[in-house]
Amino acid sequence: MSVDLSVDVGGLQLATPFIAASGCFGYGLEYGDIVDLSTLGAVAVKGLFLEEREGHPPTRIVETPSGMLNAIGLQGIGVRRFVADKLPGLRDCGAVVLVNICGSTTEEYAEIARILADADGVAAIELNISCPNISKGGMMFGSSLRGTHDVVSAVRRVTTLPLIPKLTPNVTDVASFAVAARDAGADAVSLVNTFLAMAIDIETRRPKLSNVVGGLSGPAIRPIAVRMVHECRQAAADLPIIGMGGIMTSEDAIEFIIAGAVAVQIGTANFVDPFVWSKLREGLTDYLHRHDVPSVSALVGTLDTTRGHTA
């Protein structure tokens, strides 16, 4: 039996369910030397604003138990330089590109989306309405149902590209945001972005990050992220979900797929093991074989919740 790793994420066709998570893989090209980008399901590039941004001063990351905080502040080259300087190289590598975009206003989101609609080589737009590290925009939209609806509808109006809002976990009921995004025209949702968190240097009594707070990612958050994927799947079974949060191995990825994710993103794991990609593919292929499941799609959402383990 040969197994089928390809998936359809709301109209977006991917050869494998494994996507590099935004902000954890530069603009993709940084990894061109060691990873064949065409073998990835897709690459979600570092979050882009309309204009260039310098981001926050260091210290920008701090390690925590089985996780890390980041407050990069979306340093970036802006969407126009991205289209001019990076997109051609990504196209040449055969990468499927998700452009992760961020705005301070609804209009800025729409403006970026318009620029991308005209660009060659953009497979989909990931709407970052969940960045916890910026004072305006980002999570401000993603933690209000109205904000979510407004941004998604505004961008929906200006593009026919697959539209994937990225949800924040810093809310009481993440599934309601998935539903709001769907109702506003999203083709899929991705979740989770990072958890708002902080760490204090007790010797200086100052925050360890220059930005005071940052976003928690990595294995520490995985059990919460899996629960949230499961909740969204239950609330909106028709809405494709891209799951993420602490995926380090193929087993972790399979956990998200069983919970209801049709594809997964790999963020922090790139830092620990940039060669993780082939291991993910092999592990998933092997699992499908062992369990006689013909395709990834057939595995999505197969969690049996009629009862948990009793042992």
Binding site: C24, Y31, P58, I61, N70, I72, G218, P219, P274
Partner: protein, 273 residues
């Protein structure tokens, strides 16, 4: 092209209560590493600690035929991973991703090379010294430590025909004070027209002082900056340093555009405490 090797520890020499040198069987790393480059190290397999840590390639080890057999790391114990490196025993494994980063530029005769090291900053220089020697460059190491017994591997550098100029905080060996003391004297006794390439690695204030001292002599310094690094590959933007360019000051990734920078372009005031 960087490789990720699961290197076996061949030996670990504890030089003091906080310094050690560990020799790793890693021929593919040694084959490629250039002076000033680093590796991202992971000592454990669990998720805590999670991230790798950057370490200079100290020496490249070679067999009698000159083939690379591995690398050594010079380590100073300050936290969880450096503690684990300190405690390694032969047969243990260490994952090393590298070599990474922009290397030092290597001087050519008649240019002299002055390497300025503070503490564990010495780690950047053994590979450089070996390269300089192969090119027959006249090389001096200015090396400062806390005490006489905090100056390590002097024989390594002597055997590479490096002149030593030492300094200790307590005056127990070499000059009393920090490494800029012998450096300043060397500037005095060296004609401004003599071509000298300067390299510095150590605590940030020391690299800044060296850069400024050299600049006052009209000379440039290549510094090796030590920022906290999440990935070492340009993926995370955690490791940035403020660098002055033609179009103003920008945050530049030190894993990709460094760790070696022209000291004169670094905006030291913004580099942090």
């Amino acid at each position: 092209m960087p490789v990720d090797v699961d290197a076996v520890v061949l030996s670990n020499t504890q030089l003091s209560h906080d310094y050690n040198t560990v020799i790793l069987a890693a021929p593919r790393l040694g084959d490629q590493a250039l002076p000033g480059q680093f590796v991202m190290v992971k000592t454990t397999y669990g998720d805590d600690p999670l991230l790798r840590r950057p370490f200079s390639v100290f020496e490249i080890l070679r067999d009698d035929a000159g083939r690379s057999t591995g690398v050594s790391l010079l380590n100073k114990r300050i936290g969880v991973t450096t503690r684990a490196l300190y405690a390694l025993r032969p047969g243990d494994h260490v994952r090393c991703l590298g070599p990474l980063g922009r290397p030092f530029s290597v001087a050519e005769p008649p240019e002299q090379a002055w390497m300025v090291a503070g503490g564990v900053g010495l780690a950047a220089f053994a590979t450089l010294a070996a390269n300089l020697r192969a090119r027959r460059v006249d090389t001096t190491l200015f090396y400062g430590g806390r005490r006489a017994d905090d100056l390590f591997h002097l024989d390594t550098f002597e055997s590479l025909d490096v002149h030593l100029r030492l300094a200790t905080d307590d005056g127990s060996r070499g000059d009393h004070g920090n490494v800029t003391v012998p450096l300043r004297r060397a500037f005095v006794s060296t004609d401004r027209t003599t071509p000298v390439r300067l390299y510095a690695c150590g605590p940030t204030p020391m690299m800044r002082a060296v850069t400024e001292l050299a600049a006052s002599e009209g000379r440039a310094t290549e510094v090796s900056l030590e920022q906290v690094m999440g990935c070492g590959l340009g993926g995370c933007y955690s490791c940035v340093v403020p660098v002055r360019g033609p179009d103003g000051t920008h945050f530049v990734r030190s894993c990709l555009d460094g760790p070696i920078f022209d000291g004169g372009s670094v905006v030291w005031e913004q580099l942090g405490e």
